[in-house]
């Protein structure tokens, strides 16, 4: 057996250890495995490779992907090409953050527990909610968990779901709803792309689920919505960067606020790992899924942090737990924490404004081109739908040849008729890039 760099013990170590155990051969350690099972074993058929060889191999795979340092990207739809400050990767790569687990031993985990507490505070501030957990898997599953929580709180099973919800989130909702025996009822959108309130009539609702800005980039007006739906819970999925400039769901009486935290300093990474955000009212805290840090004191009276309200969790409550979640997306939570700390109060607002202003610049330019029109009249943040005369597939192909990831063709989602392109603009896009993009669109 050749020696592997990740396995320290040598044949000599092995000999000594077997002696202590009282065995002659390592295979005896596996005597409990039925011989039949061992006999059936077949290897994968892979030779071990050295780091040098694996690096070459995997790098070649990476080079077969397009990416947003190579293409100028206008792709959004849930994952955005925001700028990730350099310090984030450096800090989260510190072994003490990267290689620890859930802070079971609080005294050896004050670093993790402290940033969890900071993260929770920041999410509360962003959303204007009272309490937040320290992460869920992603925006889609966080929304599904919010739905399950609303069912547990209300004891009801019917949910109204905005048709303008991100269709990927919608599919997650459907999976979980089917699994948990819940009913989802569509709420259409109006001409301006917002929730059609006239359709909010159902009785006996567990909750109403809306997203803002919604899948089309349109900002929902949540004013008075909570009042309208009465004791049903208002569940809002929000883009955290947009909350730098948009009134937060909390001020409109939202009961649960979730969202995709990827825009907060997390690389796009082909759609994962992402970061599920989850916040609610303090009165619902014992129904909330996910881990939380709480402030306490140590034996000497100093402030410190521990995991709080663990009695909600599966390792204690088992089938009665608020959720089955255990491993979460902690490191992404740390990234978001560092990101928000780095930008700071005014930085986040300014960032949101850059997104907003640039998106409007581009939207205006494109909609002035013949054959292109803004699909919705509602207000938008950093993403908007363009109705095109030509087929988006063709447009996108031409744009790609000129170095652009030109946006998302909405045809597969079956939400709108005609040809529609969803275009996202972040702070990374320059006027020059946008002008070239408009020119390319025009020529396409």
């Amino acid at each position: 057996m050749s020696s592997f760099e990740f396995i320290p013990n040598t044949p000599e170590d092995q000999r000594k250890m077997l002696a202590e155990i009282g065995l002659a051969d390592v295979e005896e350690l596996f005597a409990d495995i039925p011989a039949e099972v061992l006999k059936r074993f077949k290897p994968i058929g892979l030779e071990p490779l050295s780091e040098l060889e694996v690096k070459r191999l995997v790098t070649e795979l990476a080079q077969q992907n397009a990416h947003t340092e190579q293409y100028v990207s206008f792709l959004g739809g849930g994952v955005y090409d925001h700028y990730v400050p350099a310090i984030i990767s450096h800090l989260v790569l510190r072994g003490e953050f990267l290689t620890c687990y859930t802070p079971y031993q609080a005294e050896l985990s004050q670093g993790t527990l402290t940033w969890m507490f900071e993260f929770q505070t920041m999410i509360c501030e962003l959303t204007a909610m009272e309490v937040a957990n320290s992460s869920m898997y992603d925006g889609g599953s966080a929304l599904a968990e919010a739905m399950l929580m609303a069912k547990n709180i209300t004891g009801r099973t019917k949910f109204l779901v905005a048709k303008s919800l991100n269709p990927y989130y919608r599919r997650c909702l459907e999976t979980y709803a089917w699994g948990a025996g819940l009913e989802l009822i569509d709420v259409p959108f109006t001409q301006d792309g917002q929730l059609d309130r006239s359709a909010l009539s159902a009785h006996d609702l567990a909750g109403v689920i809306v997203q803002t800005p919604n899948f089309f980039g349109v900002i929902e007006d949540l004013t008075g919505l909570k009042e309208l739906i009465k004791d049903a819970l208002l569940i809002v999925s929000a883009n955290p960067i947009a909350l730098g400039v948009l009134a937060p769901p909390g001020v409109f009486g939202a009961d649960i606020v979730v969202g995709e935290g990827q825009p907060l300093g997390i690389p796009q990474s082909f759609g994962g790992p992402l970061l599920g955000i989850f916040a609610t009212r303090m009165s619902y805290v014992r129904r909330m899924p996910g881990r939380m840090a709480g402030r306490t004191l140590d034996a000497a009276g100093n402030v410190g942090y521990v995991m709080a309200l663990q009695t909600r969790e599966q390792h204690i409550r088992r089938e009665k737990a608020t959720s089955n979640i255990c491993t979460n997306q902690a490191l992404m939570g740390l990234m978001a924490t560092i990101y928000l700390a780095t930008l700071g109060r005014r930085g986040l607002r300014r960032l949101a404004e850059l997104n907003l202003q640039k998106a409007h610049y581009l939207a205006e330019k494109i909609s002035r081109l013949p054959g292109f029109a803004l699909r919705f009249s509602g207000p938008f943040f950093n993403e908007f739908v363009i109705q095109t005369r030509k087929k988006p597939t063709r447009l996108l192909k031409t744009l790609r040849d000129e170095g652009f990831l030109g946006g998302l063709d909405l045809a597969p989602y079956d939400l709108l008729d005609g040809n529609n392109l969803l275009i996202a603009v972040t702070e990374k896009r320059t006027r020059d890039e946008m002008d070239r993009f408009v020119k390319a669109l025009k020529g396409a």
């Binding site: 990416h67 290689t99 687990y101 031993q105 996108l396």
Partner: protein, 484 residues
């Protein structure tokens, strides 16, 4: 200690300047209706970049990770996380790829996922796989949904209402089954620490949708009756779900598929060396037998004529459990690891994981009670029950901190009182095993000679000049302070 980033900084400091706006600026109220504009800024910190770096550097130094030494959390497989994995996941073609850029522009990522799926199927002896679940529990939920879907199609759902669950199972198992509406039926463990076959048989009938097994189980014991168990469950028409959290014990030498298992989830953040990150991200791919393949989440990754694509056209699929394709970055790391280790390396993993556990067990069972004192797999349990009137396992764990090592898992599994569950992994050297064993043995002596020492532990974990003493969890539960 205790200081958060909110305690630092001054109004008007920033950690990052942004580019100037290079398009004509419009009035905010022209763009957003006034009622929808944020009135009050979120109270985020206002700190310079220097302060950010110093604060989080300091916080990191208050943590103990695998890079700091042995981290023998049972059931967690805290093995070394190779740094080449991190570099590979950060390659621009992976880190900056957009999930919706289209198959044509994503061939490298799709190929990696396809191949990883093939490797995991081969490792598990299974037929098909989804990489979408973001963690083990997410995989369990997916597995439960697959079973539900199957019985929905066979129109048996009304009667297939129960999931059998050994009482040693991890809490995520019952919680996952419950979400999908199954009734959880606990199966006791017998004196061997294994599934009580008679008790199991007593529950086997047509109401059984399936059983969730962890093997080796959370006592670190291999279910020697596994072939009989899977047969019995199959005989009543149920499925066998295999919680692969403990795959490190058998990887490279035995496969769940060869045990008659129908569904298995892998924890890439355990067996396949991806870092735990303070609690995540993980990845919990779920592999199944042919029969269950139609129900796997969409999109599937398919290969045709050397081209890879995302396939959504699966009418019987349960749908999606993740916004996109799962924790892709974690998949890159696991792929890298599997290619480095190859078959020989993976076999060496289980060899040394089990050898290391047994060595510790042999040394420690002279000083602590081993409720199941026999050859274990990759982990084993000890208990302090009956060793002292006043000392609990919690005290032993806290005292270990004073010795500079990380304690094991404690109070899990629930069926052993005052339990310690110890999993060293294969990436720990004999010297480090000895250091850990010596510490635990020293504490066993102290338990008799100086119990106060344990009760007051830890005495001083040096965190950056200050030090932490034992933290009051009861206080945190009674009056939760969950934000600053």
């Amino acid at each position: 200690m205790g200081t958060t980033i909110f305690d630092l900084g001054e109004e008007s400091r920033t950690g990052l300047r942004l580019p100037a706006l290079d398009v004509p600026e419009k009035n905010l109220t022209e763009l957003i209706p006034p009622g929808l504009i944020r009135k009050e800024d979120p109270k985020l910190p206002n700190v310079s970049q220097v302060e950010v770096v110093r604060h989080y550097t300091k916080l990191s130094r208050m943590n103990y990770g695998v890079d700091n030494g042995i981290y023998p959390l049972g059931s967690c497989t805290m093995k070394y996380n190779p740094r080449i994995n991190e570099d590979m996941a950060r390659l621009p073609g992976f880190a900056h790829a957009h999930p919706l850029q289209g198959d044509e522009l994503s061939q490298g990522a799709l190929k990696l996922m396809y191949e990883l799926g093939e490797y995991l199927c081969a490792i598990g002896g299974m037929d098909a796989i989804t990489l979408q679940p973001a963690a083990g529990a997410h995989g369990e939920l997916t597995g439960m949904l697959l079973i539900k879907k199957h019985f929905e199609r066979t129109k048996e759902l009304h009667k297939r209402t129960k999931i059998l669950l050994p009482d040693s199972a991890h809490g995520t198992n019952p919680a996952s089954a419950a979400i999908v509406g199954f009734e959880v039926v606990p199966i006791p463990s017998d004196r061997r620490g294994l599934v009580d076959l008679e008790a199991l048989k007593a529950h086997l009938n047509e109401s059984v949708a399936g059983i969730m097994l962890t093997n080796p189980n959370t006592l670190g014991l291999f279910e020697t009756d596994i072939l009989e168990i899977t047969k019995l469950v199959h005989d009543v028409g149920g499925f066998v779900y295999y919680d692969g959290a403990n795959l490190n014990a058998i990887v490279g030498r035995a496969r769940p598929g060869d045990m008659g298992v129908d569904i298995v989830h892998y924890n890439l953040h355990k067996t396949f060396s991806t870092p735990h990150g303070g609690g995540g991200p993980g990845s919990g791919p779920v592999a199944v037998v042919k029969k269950l393949e139609p129900y796997l989440p969409v999109p599937r990754i398919v290969k045709e004529k050397g081209k890879y694509s995302l396939d959504y056209k699966r009418p019987h699929s349960i749908g999606k459990v993740h916004s996109f394709y799962g924790n892709f970055g974690v998949l890159v790391r696991a792929y890298t690891y599997i290619r480095m280790m190859g078959d020989a390396g993976l076999k060496a993993v289980s060899t040394h994981a089990v050898l290391n556990a047994n060595y510790l067990r042999a040394r420690l069972s002279k000083y602590y009670k081993a409720p199941y004192d026999r050859i274990c797999m990759h982990e084993f349990v000890l208990t302090t029950k009956g060793m002292s009137e006043e000392i609990r396992t919690l005290d032993v764990a806290k005292r270990l901190i004073d010795y500079g090592v990380h304690p094991s898992s404690i109070y899990f599994p629930l069926i052993v009182p005052e339990v310690m569950m110890i999993e060293p992994t294969e990436t720990v050297s004999k010297e480090e095993l000895d250091r850990f064993a010596d510490a635990l043995i020293a504490v066993a002596h102290e338990m008799q000679e100086n119990p106060q020492m344990l009760k007051e532990a830890p005495h001083a974990v040096p965190v950056y000049g200050a030090s932490v003493r034992r933290l009051d969890e009861v206080r945190a539960a009674k009056e939760p302070i969950l934000r600053g």
